[in-house]
């Protein structure tokens, strides 16, 4: 209370704005004040727990992760100023943010590795690279196979038939897990209980099964 500054304009109710609007206002050349970092702050605040989680995953240390989160924020401000993401690509903001965070962690680990040998780099560089490769473009903007790709002469019926056929061609484990997960809406834990597979196995069966199914459906399209 001792440090209250002179009365100032009530800040705009940022909470009400959606992500796209926040970015638009931040980049708005006519805005006053220009480049209001509060907008980015509000945007980042919505994702900060997720960003922290990702940093934690790669850096494996709370303090480092927290520092990384703040650095990512600076990066975000910079990137937005540069106009890295525009209104039309806002749909991918989450994926984009994920890549930004991941790349930051990657760079952090790389610099750490070259500086201080292997100490504290629990998550090795190779591991990270593999990880990054495995889900980056693969998941970006992905829909469940079969939707989104329908051409005019192709009815939903055909798409479904094809998917069912694809499902039958999958390995048994993947098929059972996919069916339980998607059709019966069971959670991983329940799937694991029903099938008796290990929980992590279940996860990878579902991930791989989904990917395989998508590849199948795309290949047999038209």
């Amino acid at each position: 209370m001792f440090f209250r500054r002179s009365p100032r304009k009530e800040p705009a109710p940022f909470e009400k704005l959606d992500d796209a609007e926040l970015i638009r206002q931040y980049q708005d050349p006519d805005a006053e004040p220009r480049w209001d970092v509060g907008l980015v702050g509000e945007l980042f605040q919505r994702y900060v727990h997720l960003v922290y989680g990702v940093c934690l995953k790669y850096l494996r240390n709370e303090e480092d992760a927290k520092d990384a989160v703040m650095q990512v924020f600076e990066k975000l401000v910079e990137e937005l100023k540069r106009g890295a993401i525009r209104n039309n690509s806002i749909l991918h903001f989450k994926s984009w943010l994920h890549t930004l965070v991941k790349n930051h962690c990657l760079m952090w680990l790389r610099s750490r590795q070259s500086k201080g040998g292997r100490e504290a780099v629990a998550y090795s560089f190779d591991e990270l690279v593999r990880d990054a490769g495995s889900n980056g473009e693969d998941r970006l903007g992905m829909e469940f196979p079969g939707t989104g790709h329908l051409t005019e002469e192709e009815t939903l019926e055909q798409a479904l038939t094809r998917m069912e056929k694809g499902l039958r061609e999958l390995p048994t484990e993947q098929r059972t897990c996919l069916e339980l997960f998607y059709l019966q809406q069971k959670c991983y834990k329940e799937v694991a209980q029903i099938t008796g597979y290990d929980l992590n196995k279940v996860k990878s069966y579902i991930q791989n099964g989904k990917r395989n199914l998508r590849i199948y459906v795309e290949k047999h399209q038209g």
Partner: protein, 442 residues
């Protein structure tokens, strides 16, 4: 229940409930399904699920938000003129003055002044300090404080037992209400509170009390996290005194080592089973925590098989512990190996025999259409076509037309030309679209 916020991502509350298992099967399914399509949420969830401390999100998020707010305000201050109010300047100066006085007196008592002097100085400032210290401290009466202070100066080492940043009012308050003379009260204490706070058990009381007093002295210079090494050194000194009592918690120190490579593992969590007490190993793989004999330590991290160490007498006589963790391949979620940055297609389609041969073939085979020759038409035709897995070319499309029969001629030459090597993906031939340009020049 709404699982994701209006901005379509998992909220901290949902993540916490997911990790602690409070969600129903259907809700878990929704979370997992969302994660399958959202790498950001899935990474975050995975990492939080692997954390042993249930408090993971609350404390850290509060800190992060605070830092974020500070960062934003800093920026805001740059752009807006700051108008000082006279009394806010006065207040700042007053606080600064107080702080420097406290730092000075604190340094004096720290650098080995006689105990009696520390005693006489103690009562001079506590009340001002209480102003911005934790409210719990107000409970301490002056006479008690003096008594505690005596112990503090008598045993200066004890105060480093706990890192300053970790102390919470909730934890300190109960111990402050207790009689500072430890042995007399041991039996009288409620066993329930004992069970709840293994780290604040009877024999520790003088220590925590002393620490409180000490912390009060050193308010402005509170170090956010003291070096763990220093802590464990201090603990090692205290240990012989405490092992005497069976039920009292003892300081357990140890080192975590990887089974494969043999080097020490930093950042490994070490928790007391069934409680929220836990620490992580420091950069040298060393940890130190208070635990009750008979309890069990759980040591683990993602990628390593967790290990439990029962703290029986024979183990406790062999401190510091050496805990070897073996990598656990099963516990890692499956990783798909892929080149990073490289194209997914290992081989792009190309003409049988390579582009050079293909060009030679084109030069030889292409016939300049009569009409184009008459009109002196020159240029390139842009074509797109699909290379089927069996190497045949289909789906010709003219991207850039030249007209006068040139487009048709270009398609004909390609169609009648050699087969192409299909594109390979994971060593299997797949269909792939190709663009090419055919030049017509006289």
């Amino acid at each position: 229940m709404e699982l994701t916020s209006e901005h379509n991502h998992l909220t901290p509350a949902v993540i916490r409930q997911y990790v602690t298992g409070e969600l129903s099967g259907r809700q878990r399914h929704a979370v997992e399904r969302h994660c399958l399509d959202c790498p950001l949420c899935s990474d975050a969830l995975e990492s939080f699920s692997a954390r042993p401390q249930p408090s993971f999100l609350g404390k850290d998020l509060v800190e992060l938000n605070k830092r974020l707010a500070g960062r934003i305000n800093r920026d805001a201050r740059k752009t807006r003129p700051l108008v000082f109010q006279p009394w806010s300047i006065a207040a700042t100066l007053l606080v600064l003055l107080l702080a420097s006085v406290i730092v000075l007196t604190n340094q004096l008592s720290r650098t080995g002044e006689p105990a009696s002097e520390a005693l006489t100085e103690t009562p001079t400032y506590p009340d001002t300090l209480v102003l911005y210290q934790r409210p719990a401290l107000v409970l301490v009466r002056n006479d008690r404080r003096r008594e505690v202070a005596r112990q503090a100066s008598a045993d200066a080492y004890e105060r480093t037992l706990r890192p300053a940043g970790e102390a919470k009012p909730a934890f300190l308050a109960p111990s402050l209400n207790l009689n500072p003379r430890p042995e007399a009260k041991v039996e009288a204490r409620n066993p329930a509170t004992l069970a709840k706070k293994p780290a604040a058990a009877p024999l520790m009381e003088p220590v925590t009390d002393a620490e409180t007093t000490e912390k009060k002295d050193s308010v402005p210079v509170v170090v956010r996290s003291e070096a763990v090494a220093e802590r464990s050194a201090a603990n090692a000194k205290d240990r012989p005194k405490r092992v005497a009592s069976v039920s009292a918690p003892v300081t357990v120190t140890g080192k975590v080592i990887s089974a494969e490579e043999g080097f020490t593992l930093p950042g490994i969590s070490v928790t007391v089973k069934g409680s929220t007490e836990g620490v992580t190993t420091d950069r040298n793989g060393v940890f130190s925590l208070l635990a009750r004999p008979g309890s069990t330590l759980v040591v683990g991290f993602i990628g390593y098989a967790p290990r439990e160490v029962a703290l029986n007498d024979s183990i406790l006589s062999r401190l510091p512990l050496e805990i070897v963790l073996a990598a656990d391949n099963q516990s890692l979620s499956e990783v798909v190996v892929m080149g990073y940055g490289a194209n997914k297609n290992l081989a792009r389609p190309q003409p049988d025999g390579g582009y050079a041969a293909f060009e030679a073939y084109l030069n030889q085979q292409i016939r300049y259409p009569e009409l184009a020759r008459q009109r002196k038409v020159e240029g390139t035709v842009g074509l797109e076509f699909t290379v089927e897995p069996d190497g045949t070319l289909t789906d010709f499309k003219v991207l850039k037309s030249l007209g006068y029969g040139c487009d048709e001629e270009a398609v004909r030459v390609l169609q009648q030309g050699p087969k192409w090597k299909p594109s390979l993906e994971n060593n299997r031939p797949v269909r792939k679209k190709v663009k090419t340009r055919i030049r017509f020049k006289k």
